[in-house]
Symmetry: C2
């Protein structure tokens, strides 16, 4: 097996999830992630953890969702499994990014709503999402398979300790600030971040960071006003959205458009009340990611992007005991900041993709 | 998808496991069983059940077992999952029947002992084991892939209602009888079945039958006397046993031999006290199985075979509250009855592979 698969497993188990002896670990394996699952199982064996491996197959999901009458419920067995797990590792990497393309949106939404308790329980574990490079993801990225593998391991196998140090600077700015403003083509958006805590997302549960790769600083904005263009294409439920534009008033989407698959965007916005509000403002800082690959896990971490998520906010950004935006969805939309400006309380933090501390310009 | 895969899923979900709306179902999927998993998911969707799909990968197990120090424990998350499941469907069908060949026997045994609570909890569910035909299993059987698929579906897609009727005749004979005698080449064996209840194993939990295919009637014999030759080769823990011969006195094995891997037979017999006693007498009655394929799930159900298992007896055969033979093992050994005679209380029930009611001969 490629040495990098073992290295990936080691970063995931040790740096990201901090697995310890005796931990009860759920390992969720996508159809194409078998190789990483084997390497992760080896690491879990070395650490003396107890793995339970689940099969997260899009084709199985499609068959189930399409045949069901729509009155879904949460399985007690699955809830009990997650509630008794210490760690939840999600190994993505399917064989067809359009595998769910013909499942009606209502079925997916109904299932998503009915299984909310599972997601809540998962968030209580030390969960981490990663992906194994598959040919399907290479195709989605428009890349050769070997080229894509290089790309994934460049993003994943980083010096995380050092990146965490850089990101601490951005966290400091956001924690001290009360308003973020983003300006560029067809974009002039203001958000309050008053009373919010930013997360230094260094790909480890120690930092409240649950993606591998990560490399972003994120917070939970509110009182959003203005308009924003997301010009990085993004795939939501198998549909590719292009040039999404949103207009906010009083924190809520009041107008929207998309160049492609606008109906899918509408489906997302209509999921529930929280789906029309922002749950996240994330600032990409992983310089190991050097191009868009139509995969949010990577795109949103790229060094000169900002992403905003419709839907659920992460508790880690809220004051203790306070609930942020609630929703069954969390859909990230990405904007390319290589020609934009981001200000915090009127001071420029990022200009044309370069951070203040990278280039020393005046804020 | 091949229509027969859907038919297989339907028999499994409806006839075998009797899945109902709202049932919490664990679906355990082997590496090569993806196609059947998709078809089963569709049926579970139609029935309104809640599936949780686990990945039973031999390569994942090997990596874990080989890396672990041997002090295994049962994961609380997995135990909670099984304890909260109504139904447990095991979809076998791997990619290499020797995938665990280099895992030390002690590691497998230690893991098996540590996870006994999981097996006990599984037995409390409506569990059913079946297999999806894979190239690996075809190879094990010495058959072409398409030929093997024909074989599996001939065995699985039967008129189970009608076979259950035939098997009821055998059950009646066994329930009324007190002694079974088997005579053929190097075989003259007598067993008491006094006070025992035979199970009409018609591949449905309604009949206390948990294999698909099934098609056998089994009971729990005792006070075994005499000798028996098992001339059908069988694979135990990856080792192929040939021409096993056992001699019983007072219900216990006092002498044994095997043409190949006699040491593996000895390991089984030395597991514990109950491993030297019989836990099962099974009479194969599935005429859809027309040849040996080196897979006990099929071989032991074949129409002119009898199998005897060393070790654990099934509670369903015992009087209420009475415990049968106890052991950590249950190893089936098969004898070819196409040239033998089986009598119950001195009356011939089967001669040269033909049952009395099939041919109308006098008992």
């Amino acid at each position: 097996m490629d040495r990098r698969v073992h290295d990936h497993a080691e970063v995931l188990v040790d740096w990201s999830a901090r697995v310890e002896a005796g931990d009860d670990v759920v390992v969720s394996v996508a159809e194409g992630a078998h190789g990483l699952a084997v390497a992760v199982a080896e690491k879990l064996g070395e650490r003396g953890a107890n793995p339970l491996v689940t099969y997260d197959s899009d084709e199985v999901s499609r068959a189930y969702l399409a045949a069901h009458d729509g009155e879904f419920s949460t399985g007690e067995h699955e809830l009990a499994m997650v509630e008794n797990a210490d760690v939840y590792l999600r190994l993505g990497g399917g064989r067809n990014t359009s595998a769910l393309a013909d499942v009606p949106g209502e079925a997916r939404q109904a299932h998503s709503r009915a299984t909310a308790p599972l997601r809540e329980a998962r968030m209580e574990t030390d969960w981490v999402s990663t992906v194994h490079p598959t040919r399907s993801l290479a195709q989605q990225a428009g890349m050769a398979y070997e080229e894509y593998r290089e790309f994934v391991y460049d993003a994943v196998l980083r010096d995380w300790e050092s990146l965490a140090g850089e990101m601490a600077e951005m966290k400091e700015v956001l924690d001290a600030g009360s308003e973020v403003r983003i300006e560029r083509e067809r974009t002039d958006l203001a958000m309050s971040i008053e009373n919010r805590t930013a997360v230094n997302s260094a790909a480890s549960v120690r930092y409240d960071s649950h993606n591998l790769p990560s490399g972003e600083v994120f917070t939970a904005p509110h009182a959003t006003e203005g308009e924003v263009l997301f010009d990085v294409p993004i795939t939501v439920n198998g549909k590719r959205l292009r040039d999404v534009s949103l207009t906010f008033e009083n924190g809520e989407v009041v107008d929207f458009s998309a160049e492609a698959n606008e109906d899918e965007l509408e489906t997302v916005l209509d999921t529930d009340e929280g789906a029309r509000r922002l749950g996240e403002l994330g600032i990409g800082m992983n310089r190991g990611i050097d191009r868009f690959t139509d995969n949010v896990l990577f795109d949103e971490k790229m060094g000169d992007t900002v992403h905003l998520a419709l839907g659920r906010a992460y508790d880690a950004c809220l004051p203790e005991g306070e609930a942020g935006n609630q929703s069954a969805v969390h859909v990230d939309l990405i904007t390319d900041m290589s020609d934009g400006v981001m200000e915090v309380d009127g001071e420029v933090v990022q200009r044309n993709g370069v951070f203040r501390w990278e280039d020393g310009f005046e804020g």
